[in-house]
């Protein structure tokens, strides 16, 4: 299989994630889109690792997965707290952090 396809796949996944983060209003969906972006990068890392015959990319991927897991846990906890105390699920309702 050609590496080009993998790069294109990664690009498409990243774009979908990016548009999701920028456009979708549900906080959970925004978080899932964020994960999608991270995994798009992971795909790129893996393919580069294979292409260049080094292990560096794979090590990075493990690192990214670990940190992404921690980040998602904290983000979800925050989402739950926000919902419980403010009753908000739509991100554009959450405008407390302004001047």
């Amino acid at each position: 299989m050609s590496y080009q396809f993998l790069i294109i796949l990664s690009f498409v996944l990243f774009s979908i994630g990016m548009i999701g983060v920028a456009m979708r209003r549900n906080i959970i969906v925004v978080l899932i889109s964020l994960e999608l972006m991270l995994n798009a990068v992971n795909v790129l890392f893996i393919s580069a690792s294979k292409y260049m015959h080094t292990l560096d990319g794979q090590i990075f991927v493990i690192m990214v997965i670990t940190i992404a897991a921690a980040e998602t846990a904290i983000a979800l906890a925050l989402v739950v707290r926000i919902f419980k105390s403010l009753g908000i699920v739509k991100i554009d309702d959450l405008k407390k952090l302004k001047w």
Partner: protein, 645 residues
């Protein structure tokens, strides 16, 4: 010759300063005194060893150097931390460490009740370090470091009892007055360096400068010489910058003896002697030195006639004697100036320490109108004080006679008759005021307070022994510089050891000869002046019980008040310089410049920031997705810029 032990002369006092300065508060008085004294003694021992090494060398090879490290290296300019001992330095070193050590011992007794004992000795050691650095340095920049260091220590020690307002103010006055002189000094150094550099020799080393100095045009040398001398007038208390020295008597008496009589104030004389290669080529500058010296000598002596504070009389006497030294170097007789510097260090340190012993005995009384009749109560102090007074008056056979006479002879021989006359009259006044002091303090009826009278006691041994040693030096110290004339008289032909010893340093100076008959007449005349002064003081203050003095004051109240108030110079400086300066500081610098310009700029920038931020913060909407959008646009623009450019 390169010897690495020269640096230890500096190291010991520095260590003493660090130990007493850091840990002194927790140490016992005994330990503090021991550390400080050991430091100076080790320094003195090193100096003696090096002096012996130096004189064992042949006359034209008497030079010991010690390059510690390269201090400044910038482009073609290299300044080494380099120490140097030549005959001139060795004389200064022996005076500074020798007299300094005696005064350290004396201080142990004098300061034993003071609560800031460790601070005192730490400062004193720091002073020794700075003074030795000044003397030892082989280039003018390093010398300036020592020059400033002694100024700092002088400030710290004048204001030692800083709880007293007068002491704190006197310290400030000394520091600021010196700053005026130092400013001129630095300008002189810069001018010298730049004009040497324009001839292609960028050096500030004394030996190198001495070789290359003839490249500099004469008028530049004259300006440099005068600028450096203005620096010397500040440090060595000459007209017009002498005003700080009388006030400096607020410090502890041993400090007055060490810094404001024996060592620091002579730094200016040393500097001019060290720069003799320059001054010889700038006769106008040298003329200025001699004239200022002569005027100061007479001027300060007249004020000394009427002062009533024992230390103030000695302070004016110091200024006057420094004037003599400047006459000496000013007429080109550098070794005579340095000779007087040395003998003066002995007898003036002794006079101050003796005065300290009197003050100590009278529980702090300094007014000579409240003394009198102390001769039998404090016999040792009386004896040594008398020896010093005889020495300073120029009574034949004692140190002051030889040195003062060689200066006056040199002034006359070089054709400076007017300056000689100033010095000649000063000799009479000197003998008069110093014996006025002696008679009013030690002789006649006691005018001491009844309360104090019961407590009069001779000082302890630790104070009297240094006094006795200094007295011996004051009496015998002159015999290393017996003038040729007297040497011939007693059949001592290889005479004037001192001048011969210093001759290699002052090789560029030209001596003046005069007929033996003239020299004899001058000498007899100055001896007559000395005796006349002593006799007049004896008659007025002892025989006639001050009646002539009182009647003179009544007939000439204007003159008396003029002298008593020191020619109103402090008042004049106050109105002409200090008041306008204060006015400018308050109304221009503070109320206008500080309030409007400085504060205005600070407050203005704060106001602008506030104004801008109230408008800028509107873009912080709190809308997360708007942030993401802006962020993405930013990233795309940057990537696009790098890809497409």
């Amino acid at each position: 010759m390169e010897l690495n032990i020269v640096r230890y002369i500096l190291l010991f006092p520095l260590l003493g300063f660090l130990i007493n300065g850091i840990a002194g508060k927790k140490m016992s008085h005994k330990a503090v005194g021991l550390v400080a004294n050991t430091a100076v003694f080790l320094s003195f021992a090193t100096v003696v060893y090096l002096f012996l090494t130096l004189i064992s060398q042949p006359e034209n090879a008497r030079l010991i150097t010690d390059t510690v490290y390269t201090w400044i290296s910038s482009g073609s300019l290299t300044i080494d931390f380099k120490l140097m001992i030549d005959p001139l330095t060795s004389v200064m070193l022996l005076i500074v460490t020798g007299v300094g050590f005696l005064i350290h011992i004396y201080s142990v007794g004098y300061m034993h009740e003071d609560k800031s004992y460790a601070r005192y000795f730490a400062y004193l050691n720091l002073f020794m370090f700075s003074m030795l650095l000044l003397v030892l340095s082989s280039n003018i920049i390093l010398m300036f470091v020592g020059w400033e260091g002694v100024g700092l220590c002088s400030y710290l020690l004048i204001g030692f009892w800083y709880e007293k307002d007068s002491a704190a103010n006197a310290g400030k006055k000394a520091f600021i007055t010196n700053r005026v002189g130092d400013y001129a000094f630095l300008l002189g150094v810069f001018l010298l360096a730049s004009s040497l550099a324009s001839k292609g020799v960028l050096t500030l080393d004394f030996a190198m400068m001495a070789q290359q100095i003839s490249l500099v045009p004469a008028h530049v040398l004259t300006i440099v010489g005068i600028l450096l001398f203005i620096g010397a007038t500040g440090k060595s208390a000459q007209l017009p910058l002498y005003v700080w020295l009388p006030d400096a008597m607020e410090g502890p008496t041993p400090v007055s003896a060490l810094i404001h009589a024996a060592t620091m104030v002579t730094a200016g004389v040393y500097m001019i002697a060290r720069m003799n290669f320059l001054y010889v080529l700038a006769p106008t500058a040298l003329e200025v030195v001699a004239i200022v010296g002569g005027l100061t000598a007479l001027y300060a002596a007249t004020i000394g006639l009427v002062q009533n504070d024992i230390k103030k009389v000695l302070a004016y006497s110091t200024i006057s004697q420094l004037g003599y030294m400047f006459i000496g170097v000013g007429v080109g007789a550098f070794s005579a100036g340095i000779f007087h510097l040395m003998t003066h260090a002995f007898f003036k340190a002794l006079l101050f320490l003796g005065a300290g012993s009197v003050i100590h005995a009278l529980s702090g009384e300094q007014d000579i109108r409240k003394m009198g009749g102390l001769k039998n109560k404090i016999p040792v102090t009386h004896a040594v004080f008398l020896a010093a007074a005889l020495a300073i008056s120029g009574i034949p056979g004692l140190a002051g006679f030889f040195s003062k006479d060689s200066i006056l002879a040199a002034a006359y021989a070089s054709g400076h008759t007017g300056i000689w006359l100033l010095g000649f009259i000063t000799a009479l006044l000197t003998a008069f005021y110093i014996f006025r002091l002696v008679y009013m303090t030690f002789y006649g009826e006691s005018r001491v307070d009844k309360h104090t009278a019961g407590h009069i006691h001779e000082s302890p041994k630790i104070m009297t022994v240094p006094l006795i040693i200094l007295a011996v030096l004051s009496v015998l110290g002159g015999y290393i510089g017996v003038p040729q004339l007297l040497g011939n008289l007693i059949g001592w032909h290889g005479s004037d050891i001192f001048t011969n010893y210093l001759a290699p340093v002052f090789s560029s100076a030209t001596g003046h000869e005069m007929p033996v008959s003239t020299e004899s007449i001058l000498m007899i005349a100055s001896i007559a002046m000395a005796f006349a002064g002593v006799f007049a003081a004896w008659y007025i203050y002892l025989k006639a019980k001050m009646k002539p003095a009182v009647s003179t004051v009544q007939t000439l109240p204007g003159l008396y008040n003029l002298l008593l108030n020191k020619y109103y110079v402090d008042e004049i400086y106050n109105t002409v310089i200090i008041k306008p300066l204060m006015w400018i500081s308050e109304f221009f610098l503070w109320r206008f410049f500080d309030v409007w310009i400085v504060d205005g700029a600070v407050n203005g920038s704060a106001y602008v920031t506030k104004w801008a931020s109230t408008r800028l913060r509107k873009i912080q909407t709190g809308d997360f997705q708007a942030y993401v959008l802006i962020f993405l646009i930013g990233v795309f623009s940057i990537v696009a810029y790098f890809v497409l450019r």
